[in-house]
Every structure is written in structure tokens, then in C-alpha cells.
């Protein structure tokens, strides 16, 4: 009697991925096992994930006994299904937008928009204080007006550090820094002339308006 041993047929496992959502484990990813050209969609009962978890990273998985038996049933008795190389499941970071607040200060002649205080980037509801090393201001300057700003690489790294590796921080809409005009008071000179019966007070000459010790008109 000749016994023909069934040919061993290794299983090929697909790579799977899902986006971090704070609750779904790697084992929840959709993966496919293929044997002898026959694909089978696997669920989390069919596989064992090494160090299964919800955090961003790459996880190895392999068929467990349940999965192996399902595949054996699929291919029938002509082959013996054996496990092959492990597959990988990648949990990728969730993209999260940064919201930049608007800031303002009063013109002082030498403070640039980029030196504004109180700038905050909010990401995932968490505020991150920014300083001038964290931002890039378009056409930065000291004059009164509106200036658009965005996170630079350093600022992006700071925000990224706060949210952690489960999120991919994405810069979105720019913030605005407003340098508001300084208030300046016009001081008026006193003047006059001798009564001549015809010249009105409003016709006095030599009157000046002065601001910041500078005669203006």
C-alpha cells in the first residue's frame, strides 16, 4: 500500500492597516490569508497578534488554530495547510489639525509680530503655548497691521510631542497676529494776536498740533 502524504501548503498572510482611533486593536484590522490561490478574509478569532494593542505601531500576527482549521477546510484534504511567514498589521497615526489662535499687541516701534505673546496652538483640545521660535510669520514686521503665522518645524515638533505618537499633527489654517495702532494724543499750542476788530480767533496763525514731542501740522 502506498500512502501519499498530502502536499504541505504554506499560508500567505496579507498586510493590514488601520488608523488609530483610541479603541480598535491591531487584531481588529481586516486581513486576508491566501493558500493555494484561495483567499480567506480573517477576523480576530482567526489570528493571534503579538503584543496586540491599540497604539500606533507595527504588529506581527499569525494564524491561530481556528484560522488554520478554516483554511484547511477551504482547501480540502489534498493539501496540508501549514503556517507561513507572519503577517503585519500597522496602526497608523490619526491626522489631527492644529488650530492657531489670534494674537495682538499695541504698536511700540520695535516689537515684531513674531514676538507676540499669548499665542496658542490647540490640538485635540489641548493648548500648547507658542513663542517666537515656534512660528513663522509671513512678511514679519513691526508696523501696525495683520500678519499671518503658521507653525514652523520646531513648533510642529512641540505640538507633535504634546499629542504623542498616536497622532499626526497637520498644520491647517494660519493664525493672525494683529499689531494695533498706538494711541497718540494731539497737544495743541496756544496762540493769539492783538484785537483789530476784524480778525477772528479761528484766523490765528502759528498754531500747531504736537504729538510725541513732534510738531505735526
Amino acid at each position: 500500500m502506498i500512502v501519499i502524504s498530502p502536499e504541505q501548503m504554506p499560508v500567505t498572510l496579507s498586510s493590514g492597516s488601520l488608523v488609530y482611533d483610541g479603541k480598535t486593536k491591531a487584531s481588529g484590522a481586516a486581513v486576508i490569508a491566501t493558500v493555494n490561490g484561495e483567499p480567506l478574509t480573517l477576523n480576530d478569532d482567526d489570528i493571534t497578534v503579538t503584543n496586540d494593542g491599540i497604539n500606533v505601531g507595527t504588529y506581527n500576527y499569525q494564524l491561530n488554530q481556528t484560522g488554520l482549521e478554516k483554511l484547511q477546510t477551504l482547501v480540502g484534504d489534498d493539501f496540508t495547510v501549514v503556517v507561513g511567514d507572519p503577517g503585519t498589521i500597522t496602526i497608523t497615526p490619526a491626522v489631527v489639525d492644529v488650530v492657531l489662535n489670534d494674537g495682538s499687541f499695541t504698536y511700540d516701534g520695535n516689537t515684531a509680530a513674531s514676538a507676540a505673546k499669548g499665542l496658542v496652538a490647540t490640538v485635540n483640545g489641548t493648548p500648547v503655548d507658542l513663542d517666537n521660535s515656534d512660528i513663522e510669520v509671513t512678511d514679519d514686521g513691526v508696523d501696525a497691521g495683520n500678519y499671518a503665522y503658521q507653525l514652523n518645524d520646531a513648533g510642529l515638533a512641540k505640538v507633535q510631542l504634546v499629542v504623542g505618537s498616536n497622532y499626526q499633527v497637520s498644520v491647517a489654517v494660519t493664525g493672525t497676529i494683529t499689531i494695533t495702532p498706538a494711541s497718540i494724543t494731539a497737544a495743541l499750542s496756544d496762540g493769539g494776536f492783538t484785537y483789530d476788530g476784524a480778525t477772528k480767533a479761528s484766523e490765528a496763525t502759528g498754531l500747531t498740533a504736537t504729538a510725541n514731542s513732534q510738531a505735526l501740522i
Binding site: Y107, G109, D143, A144, G145, P181, A182, S183, I184, T185, A186, A187, L188, S189, D190, G191, G192, F193, T194, Y195, D196, G197, A198, T199, K200, A201, S202, E203, A204, L207, T208, A209, A211, N212, L216, I217
Partner: protein, 146 residues
């Protein structure tokens, strides 16, 4: 600044103090000078003073004929003139040096009352100052023989 740059409260030609402030046009002019880094706000008012003209009195000469009792200061036909105004004077308005009733020339000048009377006639646009003295002459009476 020119007249259009300011607004004068109760503008006028009479002597006195007038408060003024920048008009909208003046404020806009100042704002354009300081540029967009500043917002100009109005401060305190300025003052335009129209000063009074100093006017000097001219006193008339007058007199009467000696009668033995009437003093020089009681003369009735004196006037003081200033800036075209003539004011009649009486004894309460003048001081007579060495006043008396004897015949002769007496020098007189306005006293404080007389100066106030002339100042009132001249009006608030003038500051009246006393000028030269005037003369009151008591003429000798014609002597009659019995």
C-alpha cells in the same frame, strides 16, 4: 494749521480767550502725518487769545471864571476821549493837584472812578491807560469899581 484744521468755540473777533480743538479735517491731517502705526486722539483744547489794544486817554482842558467859592475840581465841562469815544467828567472822576478856588491853572488827571468810566466806554477790546494831564483854568473875575 489753517482755519479749516481747527474748530473754535464761539469764534469771534473780540478780545478774550477762545478754546479751540482740531476739526475732523485737522485730525485727519495729523493722522496722515503720524501714519498708520498710531491712532491720533484729541487731547486738551488749545487757547487762542485775542489781546486787548492799549488805548491812552486824552483829557480836555476846561475852566470857569473865579467866583470865590467854586473849586477847580468842580468844573463841569471836562471830557476824556479814547478810541473815538468821548466821556463827560465830573468831580468824582478826577483828581486835581492842589485843588482850590483861586484863579489860576490846575492840573488834573483821571482817578480810578474816571478811568473805569472811560474803560467802560471804550469796551472790552481795549485796555485804557491814562495819558497826559489836563488843565483847569479859573479865570480872573473882572473887577468892578463902585
Amino acid at each position: 494749521m489753517s482755519g479749516e484744521d481747527i474748530e473754535v468755540t464761539n469764534d469771534g473777533t473780540g478780545a478774550g480767550n477762545y478754546a479751540y480743538q482740531l476739526s475732523d479735517a485737522g485730525l485727519a491731517k495729523v493722522q496722515s502725518v503720524v501714519g498708520t502705526n498710531y491712532t491720533v486722539v484729541l487731547g486738551g483744547s488749545g487757547t487762542v487769545t485775542i489781546a486787548q489794544v492799549v488805548a491812552t486817554t486824552v483829557l480836555s482842558d476846561g475852566g470857569f471864571t473865579f467866583d470865590g467859592t467854586t473849586k477847580a475840581s468842580e468844573v463841569t465841562n471836562l471830557t476824556a476821549s479814547v478810541v473815538g469815544k468821548t466821556v463827560g467828567l465830573d468831580s468824582s472822576d478826577i483828581d486835581v493837584t492842589d485843588d482850590g478856588s483861586a484863579a489860576g491853572d490846575y492840573v488834573y488827571q483821571l482817578n480810578a472812578t474816571g478811568l473805569a468810566k472811560v474803560q467802560s466806554a471804550a469796551g472790552a477790546n481795549y485796555t485804557v491807560r491814562v495819558g497826559d494831564t489836563g488843565t483847569i483854568t479859573i479865570a480872573k473875575a473882572q473887577a468892578t469899581t463902585a
